[in-house]
């Protein structure tokens, strides 16, 4: 089927089987290498994207879910001020995601901060409940997210 959607602020048109998973389309066809489709059960979180403003795990979505929609991946965030704030927050709180899960963690943090710039620890843990990589100290990660929210707030008030 023919699909068109906005991927990282650019219009994309592709021809893909309707049954294909969105994660495979992004990774294999559109060469979005921050997406790591690995569990295909929505469990590991390594295929996290922001679809139409909401956090989504692209391995459990068919490609047509993206039609006429807007997808933001890690690549689309890297040049943004939000990305700088997130990375600064993580660094300051010594949260060290491994290179495999860093992109998905950044996308998830972005979605948390979209909902609240001062999220609670419980909110953060609940959102990260959809990830499985054990590389990062959870408490440091939660503090890093809060710190990122602080930097974001400061920037917005400048």
């Amino acid at each position: 089927m023919k699909l068109s959607f906005t991927l990282n602020h650019q219009l994309v048109s592709v021809d893909a089987p309707a049954s294909q998973r969105l994660s495979d389309l992004l990774h294999d066809t559109l060469q979005i290498h921050s997406i790591h489709p690995s569990c295909y059960r929505g469990e590991c979180g390594n295929c996290a994207v922001i679809l139409n403003g909401e956090l989504a795990f692209s391995c459990i979505l068919p490609v047509f879910a993206a039609d006429k929609g807007e997808i933001i991946t890690y690549e689309g965030l890297r040049d943004s001020e939000e990305y700088e704030d997130i990375m600064k927050g993580l660094r300051e709180e010594k949260a060290f995601p491994c290179s495999y899960c860093l992109p998905s963690k950044v996308v998830i943090i972005k979605s948390i901060l979209e909902n609240s710039l001062d999220p609670s620890t419980q909110e953060i843990f609940e959102t990260f409940s959809g990830t499985s990589c054990p590389c990062t100290n959870f408490h440091n990660l939660a503090r890093g997210v809060k710190r990122a929210g602080f930097h974001r707030r400061s920037r917005l008030h400048e």
Partner: protein, 688 residues
């Protein structure tokens, strides 16, 4: 945070062949026939007969066939490789190829097993535990079990190969590039120098990146050799989870003999490891198991035997720690139980033994820090008070099932893990590290693996800078491939932080001596030495077996809800001495991750952080998942000694402390891992 290396699934080329493994559908038997009729012409099919070199993967003396040579020893054993440029063709070929088997229904079980299934065994004996200890002695028997544990690394596992000026180039996320080179050379029949291995990003690993990249690279390289085309083989999530590395199940039988005062006179232990269809590293696994089982306890008569049992399960391979956590689990739970039997507080009981400052192999360790570590966790957790009061409550109540109040328990565990192998490699290519100081006073350190964590690289630079009095900016860790880098052995058992750091220091010390006597550049290679017999006698299991030790003591407090039998961790207090720690915060981060993982293993949960499952409401999830238990971690002596690994010591002690605490809370002796609510229920239903 970010690694420069690409992941294996990012590498591809337009003409690349996708390689898939066709696996056996039966657990044991023989292949009767393989019918390839109807397979599309564009699909390449390769079996054992198409292998130009030797059909084997060998690692330190153990080997298995790359593709089945007719015998099937486990379900999922690779039989054929199929390759095509389009994945749809592979699906079609998979449907067309028919493999017939002659099934052998006599599966090799773990329990019971026959003597023929024992592929390796070792024994360690102190005194004579079989002597007659008199009528006054008391005998306590117990059995402990741990189940298989699959790793949770989701990073892609595979290999990408192509020809470059006649040479085979391999990209794979290996932790031992030189072994990949050797394996590819063996299978394809070309000289090792005709194979170049480039590492891709391995990311989180549990041991599966030591052997599997060699297997997958050999398979992809075989297709490249047969076709001349680039080939990529990626394992599916199912294959990674079920058919790569797993922690082997263990059964432990223990017999303790105590005198009428409760002093432990003798201890007999027998361990059995299910190593699956093809055993690897069993010598190292069993030696480490013996040492971890004996641990630091001072027992006049002690006998430990360990066996590796071949079964019809897929090979367990090399899970990190190599059997240490399972062995330590039985020892720590059992000795806490004996302390209780002797009317002693388990903390005091362990401290008494720790004051001896030696381990089961007879090594005297005057700087052994266990007493201080135990003191610290006992004080921080308020162990004595809590243990006494929970014990009092346990003895006063009738039955946990008749109660509506939650019950609490607290457990303690202590011990050590070893860094580096107990058996040093032999042969003409010893594992080594190279350092070169060039004419501009710039130092390059060459290590066989490029995937050394950043914190360890910083540690090397700082140490080298101090020794040679040069700024760290002048020091680089060389990058490259097997054409440039030495064979430093597998990156496991804390080799990078412990053994390699020592080799880097030795290289730099030698350069410092040579520096003003010889012209630059100066190149120094230092290899891992085999210890002298008076240091470590592996045959007799006497002496100091490890390059360095990592020590630890852990207390865990548990609350058990009598209604749903879900244990909740109220707190974990841990104190470690892993020698010099370069970045304490980073070390705490690693230790905490290991503690959560080991709790997840002990509680039968896949993860501590909950899985997203739309069918569950938040309230239905495990309490631990929703509320991370508070963990307090301390590192002692962070500025002295050889740096040691953290992961293994943290994950080895926590399960024992958890099970001991849960036993106190429930008033039932638990003797297995994992412990889910359902298993706890079955223990409570057993007649007393």
């Amino acid at each position: 945070m970010e690694h420069e290396l690409p992941f294996i699934d990012q590498l591809n080329s337009p003409e690349m062949l996708h390689v898939r493994i066709l696996r056996s559908e039966i657990p044991r038997g023989r292949i009767e026939s393989i019918i390839r009729e109807g397979v599309p012409k564009k699909v390449i099919v390769a079996g054992a007969h198409e292998i130009p070199g030797a059909n084997r993967i060998r690692i330190l003396g153990d080997e298995m066939p790359l593709l089945s040579n007719g015998d099937i020893r486990y379900e999922g054993e690779p039989v054929l490789l199929i390759a095509a440029q389009e994945k749809e063709l592979l699906d079609k070929a998979e449907r067309q190829i028919r493999i017939s088997y002659e099934t052998d229904f006599s599966l090799l079980a773990f329990n019971p097993s026959s003597p023929e299934q024992v592929v390796d065994s070792q024994q360690l004996k102190v005194g004579n535990p079989n002597r007659n200890f008199g009528k006054e002695s008391q005998i306590i028997e117990a059995e402990y079990r741990t189940s298989v544990e699959t790793h949770i690394s989701r990073a892609p596992l595979g290999a990408y190969t192509y020809l470059e000026k006649g040479r085979i180039v391999v990209h794979t996320p290996t932790h031992w590039p030189m072994h990949v080179r050797s394996a590819v050379s063996t299978v394809t029949g070309v000289e090792p120098s005709e194979v170049k291995v480039i590492q891709t990003n391995p990311s989180p690993a549990y041991g599966e990146k030591v052997l599997f990249p060699s297997i997958l690279a050999s398979m992809a390289a075989l297709v490249t050799k047969l076709t001349g085309l680039p080939s990529r083989l990626l394992l599916s999530p199912y294959e990674v989870e079920r058919l790569t590395t797993r922690k082997p199940p263990v059964e432990v039988k223990r017999t303790s003999i105590l005198n009428n005062k409760g002093d432990l006179l003798a201890e007999k232990v027998h361990l059995r490891f299910d190593v699956g269809a093809y055993p690897f590293f069993t010598g190292e696994l069993l030696t480490r198991a013996l040492i971890s089982t004996g641990s630091f306890y001072r027992i006049p008569h002690f006998s430990i035997s360990a066996e590796a049992i071949r079964t019809s399960s897929p090979p367990m391979n090399l899970y990190r720690g190599l059997g240490v956590s399972q062995s330590m689990f039985s020892t720590e739970v059992h000795f806490s139980r004996l302390a209780e039997f002797s009317q002693l507080n388990p903390g005091d009981w362990k401290k008494q033994h720790a004051e001896n400052r030696h381990i089961i192999t007879g090594a005297d360790l005057p700087t052994m820090p266990l007493s201080q570590l135990l003191d610290q966790v006992i004080e921080e957790s308020d162990f004595y008070r809590k243990h006494s009061s929970y014990e009092l409550i346990r003895k006063r109540r009738n039955s946990i099932k008749a109660s509506r109040r939650s019950f609490r328990g607290i457990g303690i565990a202590s011990g050590f893990t070893g860094n580096g192998f107990t058996e040093k490699p032999r042969g003409k290519h010893p594992w080594s590290i190279k350092a070169v100081l060039d004419r501009r006073d710039k130092l390059s350190i060459y290590c066989g693996t490029m995937t050394i964590p950043g914190a360890i690289k910083e540690l090397w630079k700082r140490k080298a800078g101090e020794i040679l009095s040069i700024p760290v900016e002048s020091i680089q860790i060389a990058e490259g491939n097997t054409d440039l880098l030495p064979d430093s052995g597998p990156m496991m058992l804390a080799m990078p932080v412990s053994v390699y750091t020592t080799l880097v220091e030795r290289c730099c010390n030698h350069i410092r001596k040579q520096r003003f006597h010889n012209p630059l550049p100066i190149e120094v290679v230092r290899t891992i030495p085999a210890p002298r017999k008076n240091v470590w006698d592996r045959e007799k299991k006497q002496g100091t077996p490890f390059h360095a030790f990592s020590w630890g003591a852990v207390v865990t407090e548990v609350e058990l809800d009598p209604l749903n039998l879900e244990p909740e961790i109220r707190g974990v207090w841990a104190s470690f001495d892993c020698g010099q720690v370069y970045d304490t915060q980073y070390a705490v981060s690693i230790a905490e991750g290991s503690i959560y993982e080991s709790l997840a293993w002990a509680m039968g949960e896949e993860r501590v952080i909950p899985r997203y499952n739309p069918d569950y409401t938040i309230e239905e999830r495990n309490p631990l998942q929703m509320r991370l238990p508070p963990v307090s971690i301390n590192f002692q002596n962070t500025t002295r000694g050889i740096p040691g690994g953290i992961n293994e010591i943290a994950e080895s002690l926590v399960p024992a402390a958890f099970v001991t605490a849960l036993s106190q809370a429930a008033g039932v002796y638990f003797d297995q891992i994992p412990l889910t609510a359902r298993i706890i229920q079955s223990y409570l239903e057993e007649p007393a």
